[in-house]
Symmetry: C2
Subunit: 214 residues, 2 copies
């Protein structure tokens, strides 16, 4: 499958390498293609590096892996036309590190970054997911507790959420994906981050997640 | 043990009955003692109903089980002097139902209700806990997933947190209690509520919790 990834930080690199490793044709979009030269070589040429627009044009599915502060600008640079009608997997979190660690959120409570992105790109089918775990867990959930833990999807388009749920299972082996509802439910998963960062501070490892138990 | 409970809603009644059932001497403080007559009779007289001040005076340990909107006022009515030097277990959440369900939070992000309560009652030893689960799970964690799920404690007083952790285990059978750090970590557990309410909307049962998996 042709997959575009907007953003070349740890999340973009980890997912890009994992998807290229599965045989997908990946273009990672970045502001500074030079910094990813070594990374692209390691994928054996299956992943290319380009601009945000290149990644958006290339992808049948596009993944927003930018940091929250830069997400809307990066997606504008990618271009609404190139993202039109596409499933846009949004992993960003509105983390504000301006006062150090732990971060607060620069959007929360009565809005979410997922909603802002859906509103700014109304012709795209935004599915918020993967934002509640670290990059290593996103790409390899089996590393944590035998995969017995939960991921959430939020979005207005039921077919898009269903497709993404299937992709999360086939791409990375996610076993438990909970559809929380429309894109406003992204408030719930983004506001979980202040608990996540404190669990991270406590556990001192990024490889953890929560399992919903009944 | 002599336990005072400030607040007579579902949480106060559930915990009060459970603790009285274990043989503790419980006073539930309420604005309207009349409404709890039937409830108190069911405890076989082991739980009494009184004013907020009665509950605070009575308790060696005091539990704030009021709804978040009324917590500070109820604790002021209970009286700082009566709460002095005591462990104050804070279960409240800053839920704002003014726009219906799901609620938003009226304090969040760079502050928490737990911090506000600790600041307003500096001579009390506030331990924020139990606020991430429904009343039925608070009092009987074994009902959910064989008790294999997590509760959090947040507070500035290490000895108070340690004591409360022991009480949660002996009172209700909690197996996993994670000390997240000082009272500012209450931001994390209170901001988890927007995810909790959406999980509740999805699962349609209050008897669930999250287990931290590594």
């Amino acid at each position: 499958m042709d997959i575009g990834i907007i953003g070349s930080g740890v999340v973009g690199q980890t997912l890009g390498a994992a998807l290229a490793g599965k045989g997908h044709a990946v273009v990672v979009g970045t502001r500074d293609a030079g910094k990813l030269k070594e990374w692209a070589e390691k994928t054996g040429g299956r992943a290319r590096v380009g601009s945000f627009a290149d990644a958006a044009s290339h992808g049948e599915i596009v993944i927003n892996a930018t940091s929250g502060r830069g997400s809307l600008e990066a997606l504008q640079m990618a271009g609404a036309d190139r993202l039109k009608d596409k499933v846009l997997i949004d992993i960003s979190n509105p983390l504000d590190f301006s006062k150090g660690f732990p971060p607060s959120l620069f959007i929360s409570n009565t809005e979410s970054l997922g909603e802002k992105i859906q509103a700014a790109f109304p012709a795209s089918r935004v599915v918020k997911t993967l934002n509640t775990v670290s990059a290593v867990v996103m790409a390899d959930p089996g590393k944590v507790g035998g995969g017995e833990h939960d991921l959430f999807v939020c979005g207005n388009d039921a077919a898009a959420k269903s497709r993404v749920t299937g992709l999360l299972k086939s791409w990375f082996g996610w076993k438990h994906v909970v559809d929380l509802g429309d894109i406003t439910t992204a408030r719930g998963t983004e506001m979980y981050l202040p608990l996540w960062v404190r669990l991270y501070g406590k556990l001192n490892i990024p490889a953890f997640n929560i399992h919903v138990v009944t």
